[in-house]
Symmetry: none
Subunit: 194 residues, 4 copies
DNA sequence: TCCTAAGCGAGACGGTACGTCTTGTCTTCCA
DNA sequence: TGGAAGACAAGACGTACCGTCTCGCTTAGGA
């Protein structure tokens, strides 16, 4: 399948917008951004923006989708490698590492000025990842704690932890916070599977 | 000290606003509301609204404050009664019950249209309650998982669970969802305290 | 009837807008103006503009209404003074004089950059004035050239003349162009009344 | 010189555009049309449109040019035939007849929704035709009413009449309205020539 | 027969103005 | 004097058009 020139142009525009969004989030936070800010930064026309995305929230969601995909891939690889406890929530290491590496943008997204839409999206993504994990761990049977409930609990918890880590100064090492998460989450999971 | 008539008038205005907010949240969700909507419903002047509250978020926060106070009180009573496992997270029963009794407004606040500010406030409140609980359970020592981290994890998890319960049809009984929460949260807490 | 303070405020806003429109028409012509230009000049909010007028055309029309009223009054006075030929189209003197006195704005309204809406409004106004005159001159009878047709012809002609006078350098004296109009229009009127 | 196929292709495009414009003017009026409407109707690319015309106004002007040419030709023939009063403004018969035959499009161009640009072009065309006539009638001498002024007056008047005829239901017969015009215009012309 | 050049459709794009909406401040006046 | 009424400046929103542009397809006319 050959990429037509026009498609390349479209991709370029979308990336310009994603890039500008990220740059501006670090500068003034997501909530404070206007569509005008974004398109000025990207040097893109207003109509063009709306041709690609419904709103700045949509643009953000599309950006977060990339992260989700990358983490999902990471998760898939880890799960195919082994099944011991250490492999449970394998994506979490990757998640904390990623956050640590992009700490400027990460702290902006998790911080006070971030706007709650961002956080809802992140939480939803985390729950997704967790659900995948839980699903792999046990086949749902009747009379048990539903997979969905467990996923929501652990995903919500992970998100809480991430917020706390990010809103503090991220002084704790990646390994430590990851360990902490696993120490909190795995007992829950086991208990629910009982 | 006698309550002056003027104070009563002020109270009346504040309650009119709170009432209108709640009524409108059920009708169209928090995000979709404008200050104009609220003051029309309350039959209150624009300037008056801003004399009492900074924004619709402020009004909401002030409303949620009541819930927090009532749950805190409930928690205090339960904790003074005993210390066994069954008493851990005693407020949760009250929380789920309350949600169940006011299910219309609760589901509106937890639903898609609720606006994320609402949810941030709720989550913050839950973390507060959990922190209180964790604090009572163990005295923080060095080298342990920090109280704050555990609280954020369990508080976040509880919020996730609540969202899931509310956004489904709340088919699950109060007792069952409460039990589920405790089955997920208590192992975490214990593990962290190790 | 006492003018309430709020009414005075509203009047002030409307006059600010009218004034800004006139100032800007001279500067860049009507067509080239945006609503934003006008409200910037007037230091007025966008919503306020639209609360008072539907569009810049509406604002203009409302401004021209004043001119029409003033010319109608002038016409009324002249007609009550006498009925000889010299009194026919008495308003025309006033019209040319007015144009001469406000030549900057007049030439802007009649010029190339004026935008055709302006001109339609002016022409309509002139036809109105002429119709009034024709009506006073003869009572319509069957089988005659209809009053309306005559009015449209002479009104259109007057407008053509005005445009020509304004778009040239208005070198011709007021008296001369007025005389010219009467020499052209009165024979038409007489012929039609035959 | 043989017409190359490429030229035929170009002509075809221009005619497609003219045709679409006319069709759409009748449908929704000139003002309401966008370039997009026109090229959709003509099934022509956007760039192609701008390769041929500067704007929809330009397209219209080019269309009206045809009418002007045809009327000019008609005028030339009539003037070479004789010089009596009956031959003065000989083109007017043709004009009214033409309008009557294409009454749908004519009424659309002269009506409320027509957009004033159309009308300016028409008026300009009429003044042109009249000027030609006046020029033929008398050689300009100093101290007389200038040819240009007379042309503007009569051209404007003719346009007023046309508008009135078209905006009414065109109930009046071609001959009658033509007669009316001549009865109004010729006395003016004579008076000016005195 | 192939090749080159032009006309063209399609449509992405930067830009500008629009008319609407909401916010938070302010002023007036009533009870 | 607290509050209802509501005018207002500010400015973001999503939509509509504009005129420019790049891209490939088609098709003629010369090689």
């Amino acid at each position: 399948m050959k990429a037509r020139a026009v498609d390349r142009r479209i991709q370029r525009t979308r990336q310009l917008l994603h890039g500008s969004l990220m740059a501006l989030i670090q500068e003034k936070g997501f909530e404070a951004l206007s569509v005008q800010d974004i398109i000025d930064q990207a040097n893109v026309g207003r109509a063009t923006f709306y041709a690609h995305f419904d709103s700045k929230e949509d643009l953000l969601a599309s950006g977060i989708e990339n992260l989700r995909a990358s983490l999902k891939e990471r998760q898939r690889q880890a799960r195919s490698a082994g099944g011991s406890d250490e492999r449970l929530f394998a994506f979490s290491r990757e998640l904390f590492t990623h956050a640590n590496e992009h700490r400027t943008i990460f702290r902006a997204m998790v911080g006070k000025r971030s706007g709650a839409v961002v956080q809802q999206l992140l939480q939803k993504m985390l729950v997704d990842l967790v659900r995948e994990e839980v699903r792999g761990t046990w086949a749902e049977k009747e009379n048990e704690t539903p997979i969905e409930a467990v996923s929501q609990f652990i995903g919500g918890g992970l998100f809480g932890l991430l917020m706390w880590w990010g809103n503090g100064k991220m002084r704790m090492a990646v390994d430590d916070v990851d360990l902490m998460f696993r120490r909190l989450a795995i007992p829950s999971l086991k208990a629910a599977a009982r």
